[in-house]
Amino acid sequence: MKDTINFLLAGVGGQGTILAADVLVNVGMAAGYQAKQAEVHGMSQRGGSVTSFVRWGKIVYSPLVGAGEVDVYLAFEKAEALRNLNQLRAGALAVINLQAIEPITVTSGGQSYPDDDRLRAKIAEVTDKAVYVDGECIAGELGNSRAANVVLLGALSALIEAAGLARPELTPEAWLKVIEGRVPAKYVELNRKAFQAGRETV
């Protein structure tokens, strides 16, 4: 169990990273931690890179996490997963969503998108505790690919649990309670399934 846990969420505007960060910070508080979250709005809403930090701890001062001190990494998109890789502590836990969102520099420019071999090789240089999840595919099979972020949170919850990183109060039900408070009633069942399916990927 760690006193302070530093999370980094990285993705692309519109992927649900902000909702996921909101869930994380509230789950932390529900588990009795001091919890803080920080993100940048603004230009990032127009299809740019988005990052959010969440911190849980006995006492949390800074809302930001310094490079090299990320304990848990949740990457929603493959190129973004690589872009923020050097922020991680060696051996950090990581959930990597296998989604590619090609930026305009690739789709109509001359730049190329990194392939999966490079993704896995580079991540392996930093940590052997990464799990790869196809969140959109799993959520899509459950009926709505937009629940991908909850699939990823499910995976994250199981990974933290398996590593013994967090307090025992952090049961799957504690996560679900926070998630369910944030989705419309008609999507509660979908999100429960998505969370469970995510847990099973670990």
Binding site: A35, R46, G47, Y61, P63, A79, R83, N86, L88, I104
Partner: protein, 619 residues
């Protein structure tokens, strides 16, 4: 009750708890959510003003009437509002007036990273700086009390990381709730209930404007009498600051003393767990005796503050040796790593604390710049501007993204409302080219109007394009005088751009649907032949507005007609992808449309020379 709130939500909550009656703002990252949140509380009035100066004047008017009032803006907004800020300091107020500035160290969404604490010193106005959401709420309430105690506006200075970070806040009740509970009390008791202040609630009985010209009419003969008043006032606040509970010493190891404020306090506490800390909740004026005593109690004194050496210079002027910007950068924002590594370099911390980065070479990664969205109504005009190769003097808004390749159609952009007058100046300086100024609807109302009046009055041939997308887009869809709605959801008269522009005396004005590429090109070419001011209004609601979303119809590429000419890639639409299929002759990839992104704006279909992109089915 404890809830997680962002700093912006906490300021809104604090304003409501303080009984603010009137709040006015112009949207600007990272400040926008304050007014959006505040407007949701009962029994308040909140509005989007046309610009920050107007917002401050509105708040001043309310504060003169004896109602607590709030004006919020991003840091550069205070430049626009500076004139009003300065006279408000001279006159003082009847009830609390708080001006919120949200500074943006690291320029996440701004053109500069100016440190607005300078305005506090400049204007002889107290400055409060919260370091988390709880303090954002507490200091907002404290700011109103301070404002009324000293008859002064108060500057509440936030930074991006305070505005947009979330932490726990203990919620209180509203001053108005407290008052209504004691509804039968005499007004004197009401005043007691809400603090030191004059009347500051909606139930106040005063409904007439104060007749006190010596205080509120700043003609020179009155102003010369007010200037000494505000100099005495700021000295009195400095004395008050000596025992202000938000200025506190946190005892520690006497080897190192740290003076800090704002979010930098959090980094200081994170990195220096044992140091003695003087945490300043009020960063102007500074408590000299408190600082002197603190300095005397430690061996080495440092100041940890983001941006300018504001506290550091003041401490040095007191004759107290300290270090600050020789250790910690005045550029960009801090985080625990920046503070720690700077401290290690300066010998304040042992090198063993250095955190090694993974330093993995991840290889080349494609850039992901913010771009105009698929279906953005600004795209067609920028495509034509790029094609015409004219110099374009741009402005601040989503349409600043016309800068990004492949559109690459903006050649200057400095601040809100600048483009039209910059174009005019370039023309007057003898530019051999024809200049086009591009501005959005909200920005035109903000500061574009006087610049266009100047073009007409001083007669240059600037061609202005007003890109009217019926919303303030970049900050996340706020209402403005052209939308027909207010912040509080009421319908409002819609100020029509074309008659407004004609009334300024512009003879050549045309409104063109923003997706009609040919008509934009034809009109621009026609205007560029004239030697007079002309205004083209491109009109189409933002594609992300709920009503516009209902009209989305994805288009398709007819692969047998597409020969991979790449012309459609030049409109820079994120919905147009390179297909895996190559054209047999040219061996270039054919175009492919991402149906999940395409809105059916048809700009690409109009640009395609081979009719290889479908139009929308006829309605």
């Amino acid at each position: 009750m404890i809830r997680l709130l962002s700093g912006n939500e906490a300021v809104a909550r604090g304003a409501w708890e303080a009984g603010v009656a009137v709040a006015s703002a112009y949207p600007g990252t990272p400040s926008t959510e304050i007014l959006e949140e505040f407007a949701r509380f009962p029994n308040v009035y909140a509005e989007w003003a046309t610009n920050e100066k107007v917002a401050v004047d509105v708040a001043v008017g309310a504060a003169y009437m004896g109602r607590r009032a709030l004006a919020t803006m991003k840091h550069v907004g205070l430049n626009v509002a500076a004139d009003s800020f300065m006279y408000a300091s001279m006159t003082g107020i009847e009830a609390g007036l708080v001006i919120v500035t949200a500074d943006d160290p690291a320029m996440h969404s701004s053109q500069n990273e100016q440190d607005n604490r300078m305005f506090a010193k400049f204007g002889r106005v107290p400055c409060l700086e919260p370091s988390d959401s709880q303090e954002a709420k507490d200091l907002t309430i404290a700011a109103f009390e301070l404002s009324e105690r000293f008859d002064t506006p108060v500057l509440l200075r936030l930074t991006t990381r305070v505005c947009h970070s979330t932490s726990a806040v203990e919620l209180g009740e509203s001053a108005n709730q407290r008052i209504s509970k004691s509804a039968n009390d005499e007004s004197a008791n009401v005043r007691m209930a809400v603090g030191q202040s004059a009347i500051c609630n909606l139930q106040s009985t005063i409904r007439t404007f104060p007749r006190n010209p010596a205080k509120y009419v700043m003609v020179p003969s009155n102003a010369v009498k007010r200037h000494p008043v505000i100099e005495v006032r700021i000295r009195a606040v400095a004395e008050f600051a000596e025992t202000y509970p938000f200025n506190r010493i946190e005892p520690g190891d006497r080897g190192l003393g740290i003076i800090t404020a704002g979010v930098a306090y959090q980094y200081a506490k994170e990195v220096f767990s044992n140091a003695a800390v003087l945490k300043l909740g009020m960063t102007w004026p500074l408590p000299e005796k408190l600082i002197r005593n603190f300095a005397a109690s430690v061996d080495r004194l440092i100041v940890i503050e983001e941006l300018d050496p504001f506290i550091e210079e003041a401490v040095k002027l007191m004759g107290i040796p300290c270090e600050g910007k020789s250790i910690f950068s005045l550029i960009g924002e801090f985080d625990p790593r920046v503070v720690r590594e700077s401290a290690i370099k300066a010998g304040l911390l042992p090198a063993a604390l250095h955190v090694t980065l993974p330093a993995v070479d991840v290889g080349p990664l494609p850039g992901r710049p913010p771009v105009l969205c698929a279906g953005c109504p600004h795209r067609g005009a920028f495509y034509i501007l790029n094609k015409l190769k004219v110099p374009v003097n741009g402005d601040i808004g989503c349409y600043t993204l016309g800068l990004i390749p492949p559109l690459s159609a903006i050649h200057s952009c400095g601040c809100m409302g600048a483009g039209i007058a910059v174009a005019h100046g370039a023309v007057k300086a003898g530019s051999s080219e024809r200049h086009v100024a591009v501005i959005g609807d909200s920005t035109f109302f903000h500061t574009g109007l006087p610049a266009l009046a100047n073009v007409v009055y001083n007669q240059s041939n600037v061609v202005t394009i007003i890109m009217d997308n019926r919303v303030t887009g970049m900050t996340g869809h706020q209402e403005n005088p052209g939308t027909g709605h207010t912040l509080m959801g009421k319908t409002a008269p819609r100020i029509e751009l074309e008659p407004l522009v004609r009334a300024l005396g512009v003879k050549h004005v045309k409104t063109v649907p923003a997706f009609h590429v040919d008509e934009i090109e034809k009109t621009l070419k026609e205007y560029l032949k004239l030697d007079e001011p002309a205004v083209l209004i491109t009109e189409e609601p933002c594609a992300l507005l709920p009503e516009a979303r209902k009209r989305w119809v994805p288009l398709v590429v007819l692969a047998d007609k597409c020969n991979g000419c790449t012309l459609c890639f030049r409109i820079g639409c994120p919905a147009i992808l390179k297909s895996d299929e190559l054209d047999e002759k040219t061996q270039r990839p054919k175009a492919l449309i991402d149906a999940s992104l395409c809105t059916g704006c048809e700009v690409c279909a109009q640009v395609c020379p081979r009719d290889a992109i479908s139009f929308r089915p006829a309605a």
